[in-house]
């Protein structure tokens, strides 16, 4: 899932930087799609990892609701340059779900250290990136384009931080997988020796 997100994010950056969509009318549809896709992937990750059925249901309905809202908002708002409001809603919802997830994790007695789980690093990546870029995206429509470039540097920094956190998450996941495989091999080896 992270691979899909990373590829998609990279492609969208390429499209944006090299202005592969020249028409500003079509660009807003592209931005809207990126926002919906990002929201759907982030919230789906949380959906897979929370245990509360109520929150799972809220996440599912929010994905559908958010997609519909984004479509209506983009289609019916004239001269829209940037989907600031949608990004604001996306950030608030993802932050809420992320903190709920962390709350659930600290209440689980079987989890010894939160930062030994890959979920923690991925979720922290979401939180850092979304909270760091929240105000910039929210007011992007009110800043002249030349000034906006300097703010984009901040977004890039948070994007890099997000990627670092994601990488740590992947590393933790791979290490845990390796450790499980080694344990299984040892168990299998002992079993065959006993037989």
């Amino acid at each position: 899932m992270l691979l899909i997100y990373s590829l998609f994010f990279f492609l969208s950056e390429l499209i944006d930087v090299y202005e592969l969509i020249p028409s500003s009318d079509k660009k807003i549809y592209f931005y809207s799609f990126v926002t919906v896709f990002e929201y759907a992937l982030f919230s789906y990750f949380i959906f897979l990892n929370v245990t509360s059925n109520t929150i799972k249901r809220i996440i599912l309905f929010s994905i559908i609701g958010f997609s519909l809202y984004q479509f209506i908002f983009t289609y019916f708002t004239p001269n829209l340059k940037f989907d600031s409001v949608s990004i604001g809603i996306e950030t608030i919802l993802i932050l809420f779900f992320s903190f709920y997830f962390l709350y659930e994790q600290i209440n689980k007695p079987e989890i010894a250290f939160l930062y030994n789980t890959y979920h923690f690093w991925i979720i922290t990546g979401f939180i850092i990136y979304l909270s760091g870029s929240f105000f910039i995206y929210l007011f992007a429509g009110y800043i002249p384009r030349k000034d906006l470039r300097s703010f984009w540097l901040i977004i890039n920094i948070f994007s890099i931080l997000k990627n670092i956190f994601f990488s740590i998450g992947i590393l933790v996941f791979v290490l845990q997988l390796e450790s499980k495989k080694t344990k299984f091999k040892r168990f299998h080896h002992n079993l065959t020796r006993q037989a």
């Binding site: 709350y103 760091g132 007011f139």
Partner: protein, 280 residues
Amino acid sequence: MFLLQSTNTASIQFFILLGTLGMILVVGCLVGFVIFHQRKVIRYQLKMKAMEEEQQRILLSASVHSQEEERQRIAADLHDDAGPLLATARLYLSENLVNMDKSTQLQSIFQVRQILDDTIQLIRNISHSLMPPTLKNFGLESAVNDLFQKISASGSISATSRFHDYKERMKSEKELNIFRVIQELVNNILKHSNASFIHLIQNVQGDRFVIRIHHDGRGLAQADFERLNRSTTGLGLKNISSRIQVANGRIAFDKDTHQSYYKITIEVPVDDPLGFLKQL
């Protein structure tokens, strides 16, 4: 939004920077709080686990200690009482007995028989103290009633017991554990409380076998029991804890609702006749 449109770009930029910093600060604090809270919880859990292990260690050591004491007592009884008795009997039955006259022989045989009767009684007493025969043959109700009748017969204290719901006997180990707990508690009441009466009631509440002991002397509160249980002294109380733990039960010390009598409640799960099915 109108306000924003009327504000100049510099203030918006300042607002964005301030907002971003504030957001990062708040989010950082929240994530930090989550991590530190979890570490605190884990540290607390580890501390609790260590305390539980320490408690288990104390109980185990108390149990070993009490076993050793019991062995020493039996060894002393056998050595100091049964040993001399049998040695005396052996003296009477010396080789010279055949050379003695008939009346002396009869007297010696009579003496030996007396000594052997005393020895049999002594061994029976030791055996009874290890496993009361009433408990073994007739169950907890009879053993407790027997114990309370003996106490009452001494005349120094009034002791009564009533079993309301004890139709089927429990497993013998469980009965013995409960009996020993009652015995220890009654001993403590006799030794330390200066009570004028002890009253025991038994009933069943749901799946719990409940025994309540009331007395009007000086008693223990739950906090006192737990404190003494954690300390290195109070072997009897540790044995009680250990036996209750083995029976998978609980014990509570408190005063009754009128605050006039001390009350000890013992609760153990009733034996499930179909329990073995669950283990399959």
